[in-house]
Structure formats: C-alpha cells, structure tokens
Amino acid sequence: MATQQTQGLARGLLSPAVGLLFVWMIVPLAMTIYFSTLRYSLLDPGAETFIGLDNFRYFLTDPAFLASLLNTLVLVGAVLAITIVLGVPLALLLDQPMIGRNIVRLMVIAPFFVMPTVSALVWKNLLLHPVSGLLAWLSTLVGVTPIDWFNDAPMLAVILIVAWQWLPFATLILLTALQSQDEEQKEAAEMDGAGAFSTFFHLTLPHLARPITVVILIETIFLLTVFAEIFVTTGGGPGLQTTNIAFMIYSQALIQYDVGSASAGGLVAVVIANILAFFLVRIVGRNLET
C-alpha cells in the first residue's frame, strides 16, 4: 500500500512523537535504575555512594515487603471478584427495557468519573466515619455499635472504596457485550426449553467470557497501583494492614527519605507487574483468539 516515499515521509513525521515518548520513558527509568544502586538519603544530601544491589536486598528482606505484596494481591483479587460478581447481574439488569434507562445507566456509571481522592474522602468522612458517617447513623438507628471501619476492618474498607469505583467500569464493558448477544440464539434456547438460569449459564456466561477477561486485564493494571484511596483514608495503616507495594514505595521515599530503596522498590514493582501481565496476556490471548 505504501510506496517508499510515503513510508519515509510517515517515519519522518512520526519520529518526533516517538522520540519524545521514548525519552519521556527512558529518562525516568534510567534514573530509577541509577538511584537504586546508590545510598541516597534525603536526610543526608550530597553523600550518595554506590552500593550495588544492597538497596534491593534491603527492600526485599524488609518485613514490610511480604506484607505489602500480600496486601496488593488481596486488594487486586478482592476488587476483581467484587466487580465481576456484581457487574454481571448489574449489566443484566441494565440491559432490561425500563423507564428512564438512559438516566439510570448514567447514574450507575457516574462513580467512575469521580477522582479517587474525592471518592475516598467522601467514603471516609460521609459514609464510613464511625461518628458522623451514614453507616454509623444507620447502626445507631437499629441499636448496634457503629463499626470503626478504618481501624477495625481497614483492608475491607479500602476494598469497598476501590470496588465502588471500578464496578461501573466492569458493568459498562459487560453491558455492551450483552447488547451484542444474538437474539435468535436466546430464542432458540427458549424453544429448546431452557429457562432463565439455563440460558444464563449455557449461553450468556460463555458469551461474556471474553469481556470478563478484558475487564480482568485492564482492572489488574490499574489496581496494582492503587494509592490515593490508601493515602487519603488509612495512610497504609494501622500498622501495615493496608500498605500495598505502591504505598510502601511512597513511604520509603517520602516518609523514610530513602530514595535508593524506593527506586529499588519501584523496579521490583515493575517486575511484579510484568510477571502478572505475562500470565494475564496469555489467558486473555487464548480467549481473544477466536
């Protein structure tokens, strides 16, 4: 399709953008790699010395590391499970004809547009607050002691907030998938005597397999780096109960002022994300083949 001339022209026109993106990526990466090999404390500036891989050793043997890794996996897994298990029925409901469907759809999708910091603040101060929160008020109405979410069940509270943000995304993707399901197939199933549940398990769920893998892939990428919600609500605590890898890196750099260790942590996070991505892409690839 392209002649030599247009190919050359295309390359010429693309190169500034590609070059800029490349520099944009490679400079921070190179600097991170460089910092990760230094003893670099913000409390002692100007005294950087090369220490090889010691920062990695400190980061990986830090007792906080395993806890954070576990917390990251729990957070990602729980939010994925909640968004898909609730997203499928929600999408099914929104697919039904009803009055004001467009408005209802808009309302359901709205949480996705709220920025993480704001939604975390709303949850913290208006909904989950043990004294002035909505849930606390409901609890006292029925005579139950309000739960102090961020102290007694901090991880659950964070999962709740993040799941609330990502549920609309899953619902939206699954809803569009449902709308592309073949009507005649459902009618054929009806003629074959399949009830609503059989039709769902034998036709709709297999049809949704592909969009579900897409949701898992995209959500995982973003959920590995959840930060604002934790920062605003629990600050990683109590103790390490809600510290994930992203928050741990932050605390290394800006609470303990250890830039070297934080850089090493950043590189470890990149490796973890790549390991996960490797498996996910394989799973999704198998589903997208057909």
């Binding site: 197939q185 074959d192 034998h202």
Partner: protein, 334 residues
C-alpha cells in the same frame, strides 16, 4: 400427531396490525409454506405459532389444544432460524443435545438420539466441531438436526435457506423436502421465494399485508388464483395483466395471461408489438414485448425462438387459460 389450527388470530404491535384475522387448518404431516412479500407478516405468524410472540386475540390449536398461553418449549414444536442460531461455544453434539438435556433426558438416551440424528444428516464426522468450523450448508444441517432430535409435533422453518448460495439452496431444498416426507412430521416453512414455495409445499399460504390471501396446493394457486395479488405473486416470470378494451371483450376489468400462455402468431392476428429484449436461456426464451397501449408483455417461448430485439411480432393469448378479474381485483369464475 401435529395438526395445527389457527382461529381468527390477530396480532398488533401497538397501533400496528401485523396479522389480521388469520384462519388456517394445517393437516398432520403436511408441508405448508407461508409465502409473501417482505413485511407481509409471515414471520410474525410463524413466531406466533412458535410462541415467541403473544397473540393479541384468537386461538392457536395444536392437536385440538389451545396453546395460546403455553410457553414455547411446551408446545412440542421446534424451529430452524434464519441465522441458524447455533450456540457458538458448544460443539455440534452439544448443540443438538441441548434441547434433550434441558428436558432432563438420561445421558445414554441423548447420545443415542444425537447419533441417530447426525447419521440422518451426514453430520457424524463433525460432531465434535464447533459451529464456526463448519460451512454454511453444514451449519444449516446442524440447525435441522437440533430440530429433529426433539421429535416435535411440527417443524417451523424461518427462511432457512436464504443464507446459502444458489446451488446449495436447490440441494438443501430437496433434502429438507425428503427429510420431511421421511419423518412424516408437519412442517411450516416461511419464505419470500415463490420458487421455494412452489417446489416444496403440499399447500401454500399466500400472505399480503397481514391477511391470508389464498390457501391451496401449488397448482391450485397457479391455475386458479383468487385475486390479482396471488396471480401476480405466484409464477415466474410474472403474469401479464391487461386492462381496457381487450379485457372488457372478456367481460372483465383486468385479464391476466401467464407468459407461457401467450403465443407468437403470424402477421395481422392478435396484438401487435415490438420485441424490446429477448432473453435466450436455451430451454426457454423470454421475450419482453412492447405492445403499445397494452404495456410491456412477457412471453415465454419453449426452446429456441429466433427473434431478437426490435422485431415486430403479433401475440395471441390462449383463451382457455385466461384469468379474469373484476374491478376489485377478485377473480371472476364462470
């Protein structure tokens, strides 16, 4: 058994009347074709019988039992859809077995029936394939297999051959007819193709704008159409309609002459005209003759007729095969 009776069935979508007072009596074991132009309501009528749509009023009786409030699966009918509607992630075996599985039939019996159906339709070697790995004709056969395995009272076909190419369509037409005769199960078949209707049907229902225009055997419709619509719809090429003086000579508002009942005759007799196009098919020759105020007439000549565009001809209708219609378009019978 599979006797289906429609009694004054109406169907409207909001203010739109799709089916207006349909009355039909479909005998057990017969092959009935619903034919009509697009939008005439033939598919809606089929879906009403299947139970995929609710009737607005009237009764549908299957073997004497009113099934208007019976869900589709309990009516004992099975349907072949236009898109085949195969379940994409199930194998051919899974597709054919699905209805039986839903009915809670024991596994060995399902296997036996699926194997038998597959053998009938030459699908045995494809049983473990997915629908996307099959050709159009094979998918069609799977859809039919899914229908026959349930041993229904009647088959419902919704334009099942319209997605196949011409050669395959002729072949499947024969296969479907043969299979239906072999199983001796009632079949209702919807098509807009009048050739399919004429070749496959025991009886044809001609529908127009939600009304049953005529119900009869293919040759009844061909030889004795009840009105202008049926006369024009059945037969290919279309029947010629002539009104005015030649019609009033026969005591009618319009007369209809089929292309094969118009003969080219010698000078001076009959209607003069000029050949505008001659189509030579070898077995037949179709002449499109511009006959002045009578309009464009189609003539079908047997074998080779050595005429070409621009030739002057005289046409004479076979008086015994004239169809006469009154002002309302209703056939006049002697």
């Amino acid at each position: 058994m599979g006797q289906i009776t429609l009694q004054s069935v109406h169907k409207s979508f909001g203010p739109l009347n799709i089916i207006k007072d349909a009355n039909l009596d479909i005998e057990d074991g017969s092959f009935v074709v619903f034919v009509g132009p697009s939008g005439c309501g033939k598919t809606t009528l089929l879906r009403l019988i299947a139970g995929l749509e609710d009737v607005t009023s009237g009764q549908i009786l299957i073997d004497g039992r009113n099934v208007v409030n019976v869900p589709p699966a309990k009516r004992g009918l099975s349907m072949v859809f236009q898109s085949y509607a195969l379940y994409p992630h199930m194998s051919v075996r899974g597709n054919i077995a699905f209805g039986l599985k839903m009915a809670g039939m024991p596994r060995p019996e399902i296997d036996r029936k699926v194997e038998a159906a597959a053998a009938t339709l030459n699908l045995t070697s494809y049983l473990d394939r997915k629908p996307r790995e099959l050709s159009g004709g094979q998918r069609q056969r799977v859809a039919i297999g899914r229908a026959i395995v349930r041993e229904p009272k009647a088959f419902l076909f919704d334009e099942p051959l319209s997605n196949l190419d011409a050669a395959l369509r002729v072949q499947m037409r024969m296969e479907v007819t043969r299979l239906q005769k072999q199983l001796a199960t009632t079949a209702i078949y919807v098509t807009h193709d009048q050739v399919e209707a004429m070749t496959m049907a025991d009886r044809i229902v001609v529908l127009n704008a939600g009304r049953v225009e005529q119900y009869g055997t293919p040759l009844e419709l061909y030889d004795r159409p009840v009105n202008l619509f049926v006369a024009g719809f059945i037969g290919s090429p279309k029947m010629n309609f002539v009104s005015g003086l030649p019609a009033s000579l026969h005591g009618a508002a319009t007369i209809g002459i089929r292309p094969e009942h118009l003969r080219v005759v010698g000078d001076g007799e009959g209607w003069p005209g000029r050949v505008s196009v001659a189509e030579h098919l070898g077995s037949d020759t179709f002449l499109y003759v511009d006959a002045a105020e009578l309009g464009l007439l189609t003539v079908r000549g047997l074998g080779e007729v050595h005429l070409k565009g621009g030739d002057r001809v005289w046409l004479s209708p076979d008086p015994a095969r004239l169809h006469r219609f009154d002002k309302e378009g209703v056939a006049i019978r002697p």
